[in-house]
Amino acid sequence: MPQMTLVEAVRDALRLELRRDPRVMLLGLDIGRLGGVFRATDGLQAEFGAERVVDMPLAEAAIVGASIGLAVAGFVPVAEIQFLGFTHQAFHQIGPQVGRWRQRSRGRFSAPLVIRAPFGGGIRSPEFHSDAIEAQFVQTPGIKVVMPASPYDAKGLLLEAIRDPDPVLFCEPDRLYRLHRQEVPAGEYTIPFGQARTVREGDDVTLVAWSAAVELCERAAAQLDGEGIAATVLDLRTLVPLDVEGLVRAATRTGRVVVVHEAPLSAGFGAEVAATIQEEAFFALDGPVRRVAAWDAPYPSAALEASYLPTVARVVAAARAAVRS
């Protein structure tokens, strides 16, 4: 089985879908000749032509808007927005348009498309280049929100996203693009949405995360092992749909939960996780659900990045506090 980085897994999924389905089309800024800002689409224009791997003008709203038009006309567009923080420029197409066509027309037509967007901190780029604004799209009904954390998941979830009948926001953790290699099957496979992945099992505390924070929690769990605290790490994989059952099962097993994300604390998706657990598993809890998140501040410059993002030390401290409560 081939070894792939996360960015290679993304490219592999795109290539397979472009080959399988003539309706699939990629649109974005510099995705063709240049291969994209992170080279996720490298070589695809040469293979599939400039009519299907389309270099767009620098206009995020038009990239998403044109994708809607193509989707309504029967194509399967996969748009790339260079950074998730740049979707601010396209939000008026995503919020009032993308997710609403199906319900507005009572299912008579819809706009199934995928918006791929690299995101997250740890690459020393400020503000919008690192913003983790996934929760904003959870508040935008009609859109599914997918947050892969590994090469294997990135490929399987992206294939699922392109074939899904609804619009999908697919957030790629740019810090992990080239960090690890993993065995990834060469052919097609899909991972269903709404199924959390148990990364490791332990009875004392559950660390809930998605995207790049999963890798952080794995490191925290390894350190907690040394202190005699056994942690489960649960990767939610998709925020919409949310695997409520899997979340409740993990929370019930350990009675203690820490949720970790890169987005600012207030009204981050961690709040939804905590609320869901207290609603569905209140009597199984041994203490309050704790949150480790970024500060309620814009993403800082590189010098302050490490103080802004959740760290292994902060996750370990929260887990210790949870176990002692």
Partner: protein, 322 residues
């Protein structure tokens, strides 16, 4: 075409009356005075050409052949409406007629039309896209993103700017540095034509030229129809920005009267025949309102239906779980 214009006028009159009786919720934007634009333009295109419009969309729906009963029921928010009561006045749409909706967010459908036009070009299809918007939209960034893309790739899309001289509460001079909207097209090297939006022939001619241009693969075309809304922006508009005299001057240009007089003068129809059309349409509209009144409201249990192709666990997502 006379019948279509009267149909729009009477539909809007009845909608206004129903709004005053609190049968229609939210906002209501009437097309009265602008009828010649939708009628002239859509008759110059094919019924299969793709249509996207601004939120003042009732007229387009009716000319495209949407059932006035279903359109009125949609305004009433009823389950028998064009979109089951989910779209409302500003989002009338019917996929089978290639009518992809009125759009409430000003200008937001402009790049969507460009995307559809790319689909047509890619598949070498004959249909073109008609994308209607108001003068207000031309100050919005998305207008420029859409025109830029269409001109860059020579897409088969007709942009029709329905210039009714006012935004919501501002005059054209207060919101635009240019008086003639066709000047906007020049920056994109897009051919354009200005026409009299109160004259159905003038609109027809301009859009006919535009559609033929697009269909023959020569790229996008920009049409400006100068028109006037006889009523306020919405039913809630105090109209502080214009005086009654001005409205009176434009009312003398009433597109329906003008076209009616032409028909009589040219002996195409007699006054009596036109009167018969008016009466038939009035009867049809009374039926549409009665239908909308009697139609059932959507079931409460369907409030979260249809957001996704397959429902995401309604138990978990429902507000009652608290």
């Amino acid at each position: 075409m006379y019948r279509q214009m009267v149909l729009i006028r009477r539909f809007e009159d009845h909608a206004a009356e129903s709004y005053a009786r609190a049968r229609i919720g939210g906002f209501l934007h009437l097309y009265i005075g602008e009828e010649a634009v939708a009628v002239g333009a859509l008759n110059a295109a094919r019924p299969t050409d793709h249509l996207l419009t601004h939120y003042r969309d009732h007229g387009y729906a009716l000319v495209r052949g949407c059932d006035p009963k279903a359109a009125m029921a949609e305004l009433f928010g009823k389950a028998s409406g064009l979109s089951g009561g989910r779209g409302g006045s500003m989002h009338l749409a019917e996929a089978s007629r290639h009518f992809w909706g009125g759009h409430a967010i000003v200008g937001s459908h402009i790049p969507i039309g460009a995307g559809m036009a790319y689909a047509m070009q890619y598949q070498r299809r004959e249909e073109v896209v008609l994308d209607f918007f108001g003068d207000g939209a031309t100050g919005n960034g998305i207008f420029h993103e859409g025109l830029n893309m269409a001109a860059l790739w020579q897409l088969p899309v007709v942009f029709v700017c329905e210039n009714n001289l006012y935004g919501m509460g501002a005059t054209l001079a207060e919101e635009s540095p240019v008086k003639d909207m066709i000047i906007r097209a020049e920056g994109y090297t897009m051919p354009s034509r200005q026409c009299d939006g109160m004259d159905v022939f003038s609109v027809y001619e301009a859009v006919r030229t535009a559609v033929e241009h697009c269909r023959s693969g020569k790229g996008p075309f920009f049409v400006e129809a100068v028109t006037y809304r006889f009523r306020g922006h919405s039913m809630a508009d105090p109209e502080l920005y214009r005086d009654k005299e001005e409205v009176g001057r434009w009312r003398a240009q009433d597109p329906i009267l003008r076209f009616g007089e032409f028909c009589v003068r040219q002996r195409i129809s007699s006054e009596r025949e036109l009167e018969e059309v008016n009466e038939q349409v009035e009867q049809e509209m009374l039926e549409a309102v009665a239908f909308a009144e009697a139609a059932p409201l959507p079931e409460e249990s369907t409030v979260a239906d249809g957001v996704y192709a397959n429902p995401i666990d309604p138990e978990a997502a429902g507000p009652e779980s608290a």
